[in-house]
């Protein structure tokens, strides 16, 4: 309980700083901070907004988990963007090619996306293990290649020729699409409007979050992964094969990026086109940081991030620039990283003192009697 209590100190400070800074920005631009926050709050607390937040937050959550699993091992996969793109494109292109019963079809498409994302991520992994190439550099560069490659593949092999006024793949057949959750929440007395859909990717994201926790915190693989991240030399001495760990982890990371794209492909965007939502892979890096690489923290972070994004819609009605939400997100991220670090150091100093006190406490009586 106490741990959770002190755990909330840092985020509270971060939220405070973010609110103060964005209020200042609002005042400087001649707007009322109170009006702005009220408009945002009013807009974001509607059921429709909540549904949108969950629909957008779920893929963001999964992509952030992918980034976080790399971070846990001090492996900086900045290439989630490319892995996400290729996962989306290849899954979209292959989904119409076969027909299967619904749940099997969905799982098959997801697996294809994960294999595509994972394979793309394996390239920097192999480069790092075999040639010592820094993964930050190689993953960033592979993002550009992925952008070009996906545009080329979309325009040539994967294009649906029957559509003349747009460049897109064929649509994913109905059997491959995730069902909406409207019927499910109906059971709990929540009635959504006809044109509001709570998308079926949310349970997938929750399952991935739980799996992330179990794998990282409870399995030996997760133990090896965390120890390698904290002290590579000690992990190696303890018998961890660091090369294998790098490859496995970066593939997992890429697979999650690919899977995240299914949050859109298998729901309302049932095809890949130039209008397919991109960019959340980069956001995922920030969300993973904000969530301290912990599945629970990232869930909160993804929700908060998507909420601010959504809340900016409320600013439009008040004629306040929506960029204020970007300031809010940015300051939140920076102040969170700083305040988490401050709290971590304070806790560390405290436990060092405790250990020293312990050492002294057991030392003195023995020293006095002998």
């Amino acid at each position: 309980m106490k741990r959770i209590g002190t755990g909330l100190v840092a985020p509270a400070i971060a939220v405070g700083v973010a609110v103060v800074v964005s209020s200042l920005a609002l005042l400087l631009s001649g707007h009322s901070a109170i009006a702005a926050f009220r408009a945002m709050a009013d807009y974001v607390t509607t059921t429709d907004s909540l549904v949108t937040i969950l629909n957008k937050g779920a893929p963001l959550y999964v992509v952030s988990l992918g980034v976080a699993i790399g971070f846990k091992m001090k492996l900086f996969n900045i290439g989630a963007d490319g892995q996400y793109r290729l996962g989306a494109l290849i899954a979209a292109a292959s989904a119409p090619a076969f027909s299967l019963p619904r749940p099997v079809h969905i799982v098959a498409i997801m697996l294809i996306a994960m294999v595509a994302g994972g394979t793309w991520a394996a390239i920097p992994g192999v480069l790092k293990v075999a040639r010592g190439v820094n993964e930050v550099v190689s993953t960033i560069m592979l993002n550009f290649i992925a952008t070009g490659l996906s545009a080329y593949l979309l325009a040539t092999y994967f294009r649906n020729r029957r559509v003349v006024d747009g460049i897109e793949t064929k649509s994913v057949p109905k059997s491959g699409l995730l069902p909406s959750l409207n019927g499910f929440v109906e059971n709990f007395g929540i009635h959504l409007r006809r044109n509001t859909t709570l998308q079926g990717f949310l349970p997938v994201a929750i399952a991935v979050g739980i799996l992330f926790y179990v794998i990282v915190s409870r399995t030996r693989f997760g133990y090896d992964l965390r120890m390698t991240g904290l002290n590579p030399a000690a992990a190696r001495s303890s018998g961890v094969n660091s090369s294998a760990m790098i490859i496995r982890t970066i593939i997992l990371s890429g697979a999650l990026a690919g899977l995240a794209a299914m949050g859109f492909l298998l729901t309302d965007y049932n095809k890949y086109s130039d209008g397919f939502p991109l960019g959340l892979a980069f956001t995922g890096i920030g969300v993973a940081l904000l969530g301290r690489n912990h599945p629970g923290g990232i869930a909160v972070a993804a929700f908060v991030w998507a909420s601010i994004e959504q809340a900016s819609g409320g600013l439009l009605n008040e004629r306040i620039p929506t960029e204020i939400s970007k300031i809010l997100q940015g300051t939140l991220l920076i102040s969170a990283v700083v305040s988490f670090e401050i709290v971590r150091r304070r806790n560390l100093t405290k436990s060092i003192k405790q250990a020293a006190a312990q050492s002294h406490a057991t030392l003195s009586p023995a020293g006095a009697t002998s």
């Binding site: 030996r220 000690a234 190696r236 961890v240 436990s351 312990q358 030392l363």
Partner: protein, 514 residues
């Protein structure tokens, strides 16, 4: 400073220094009197309060009670800057030098001669050369620090302090990083400094070195001054007893004999070095069940490579390694661990513990895929915590709980945790590098006892140590390594420290006294 004073005023007097930290009284009434132009050693176990006292003197924190008197005048330091202004300089154990700068650049850094805009390079070099000449600390000012050896870097640190006008130099464990030849050079330099009127405070727990170099010795135990002695009046044993406050354990002569069965066999093992010279050069070692084979040698003569070769952390150029008739050569580190090799690494913070992880996760390290720590790929946290509790009790690890990060523990307690972890796993062979490095004398005796009793129960131990006393106390057979080769096999009962030293430095060769 006058050369001939009838009644010298002490350069430093500390009177009744008390320094409390939350829950700890680190210094509890320490008195210290240091005469000018002398080398004054301060000895004490780890955690006895030496470092706290020196930080007080250096102005890093202020004492809760007591006075600091410099040359008869009571002073109060708000920060190290005040102490430096008063001519007190400190050379830390870990060097604080910029590798990519030259010697002179490092030394003048922060105190550059010349105007604010222009650095007077010629003046800097000149004053440095003069300083080096005056104090007998010869070093090329144009050399890059990255090119220097450890001994030279230390000289740069001392020069840096002198350049800032220090007349009192505090050296924190200066010999910990030096090889024996460099230690001698350091001592010569220190004596030269004292003839120039510089006062030296020398913190150490290497008693023979203290006896060799100091003019006076103050012993500290549990934050209090135990006494001041002259090196001529005491032996290392007396000093150790003052430090510990109890009898030192005498090595018990062994009554039983090791088994004839070979547990670990290295046959003609070679490992590549940085240049074309092999770092490990056709080494053959046999360790029998129930035997401790000690490896003596100046650090850097192939010991690290030997450890890496056995643990599978470095590829072999030639030769083979067998563990009770199973070839290890093609096994991974993990497989070797699982085959029954316990490992106490040389550098505990680098290879032995994960500082940011809690103790119970550190106890799993190296044993994470065997019982009780993991079952079918899942970590058993309860079993791991129980095991950690057992090790904390059995090995007297001082910690508030099993869940604090390893970094919260002192080095000695970390070491006890590592030793406990490896011994509790019940290995067939223990590869122990410096098993008692940094632990206090009491814990050292306990660790030695553990190794002895495990040996009696059939454990084969390969012991690599820089502590000759430890090697002589534990080993059944003593090997000496020099330049990647085993140059002598000795009987620890018959060998003298002098002989051992001769083999270690290459002054003698071909020993087969066993």
């Amino acid at each position: 400073m006058t050369d001939h004073a009838p009644e010298p005023t002490p350069a430093i007097e500390l009177r009744g220094i008390v320094k409390r930290f939350p829950g700890v009284v680190a210094n509890d009434g320490v008195n210290l009197t240091v005469l000018p132009g002398t080398i004054h050693a301060i000895v004490g176990e780890n955690g006895s309060g030496k470092s706290t006292l020196m930080k007080t003197l250096y102005g890093a924190h202020r004492p809760d009670e007591g006075d600091i008197v410099l040359g008869g005048e009571t002073v109060s330091f708000k920060s190290p800057r005040d102490a430096i202004a008063r001519g007190i300089g400190m050379v830390f154990q870990h060097f604080m030098l910029a590798d990519n700068l030259t010697v002179w650049e490092n030394i003048v850094l922060g105190h550059e001669p010349g105007s604010a805009a222009l650095l007077n390079r010629r003046e800097a070099r000149r004053s440095l050369r003069e300083l080096g000449f005056r104090y007998g600390l010869r070093i090329d000012p144009e050399e890059y620090v990255s090119e220097l050896g450890v001994g030279d870097k230390q000289r740069v640190e001392i020069l840096k302090v002198l350049y800032r006008g220090a007349r009192i130099v505090i050296l924190d464990e200066p010999t910990a990083v030096l090889v024996p030849q460099e230690v001698n050079e350091l001592f010569t330099s220190l004596r030269k400094l004292t003839t120039e009127g510089v006062t030296i405070i020398f913190i150490s727990h290497k008693l023979d070195e203290v006896l060799a170099v100091a003019d006076a010795i103050t012993v500290i135990r549990e934050g209090r001054t135990v006494g001041e002695v002259r090196p001529g009046d005491v032996t290392a044993r007396d000093l150790a007893q003052m430090m510990v406050g109890r009898e030192l354990p005498r090595p018990v002569p062994r009554t039983d004999r090791p088994s004839e069965e070979v547990a670990l066999m290295l046959d003609d093992v070679s490992v590549a070095g940085v240049s074309d010279k092999a770092a490990l050069d056709h080494v053959s070692i046999r360790v029998h069940k129930g035997e401790v084979v000690g490896v003596a040698g100046v650090e850097g003569n192939g010991q690290t490579e030997l450890l890496d070769a056995i643990m599978g952390l470095r590829p072999l150029l030639s030769g083979s390694i067998e563990l009770t008739h199973h070839r290890l050569d093609s096994m991974s580190t993990r497989e070797r661990r699982d085959a029954g090799i316990g490992y106490i690494p040389e550098d505990r913070q680098k290879d032995g513990v994960v500082l940011a992880a809690p103790l119970w996760e550190n106890v799993m390290l190296g044993h994470q895929d065997s019982k009780p720590f993991s079952v079918r790929g899942f970590v058993d946290r309860i079993a791991a915590r129980n095991q950690t509790r057992r090790i904390i009790t059995d090995y007297d690890v001082r910690t508030p709980s099993t869940d604090v990060a390893a970094i919260a523990l002192s080095g000695g307690n970390q070491q006890k945790l590592i030793v406990g972890r490896e011994m509790t796993a019940g290995p067939a062979v223990l590869i122990a590098a410096h098993p008692t490095r940094g632990v206090d004398v009491g814990a050292q005796a306990a660790i030695w006892d553990y190794i002895r009793s495990a040996r009696t129960n059939g454990l084969a131990v390969l012991l690599i140590s820089a502590d000759l006393e430890e090697l002589l106390a534990l080993s059944d057979t003593l090997l000496v390594m020099l330049r990647g080769c085993v140059v002598a096999t000795l009987d620890p009962v018959k060998v003298t420290i002098g002989e051992l030293g001769a083999y270690m430095t290459g002054a003698a060769s071909g020993g087969e006294a066993a």
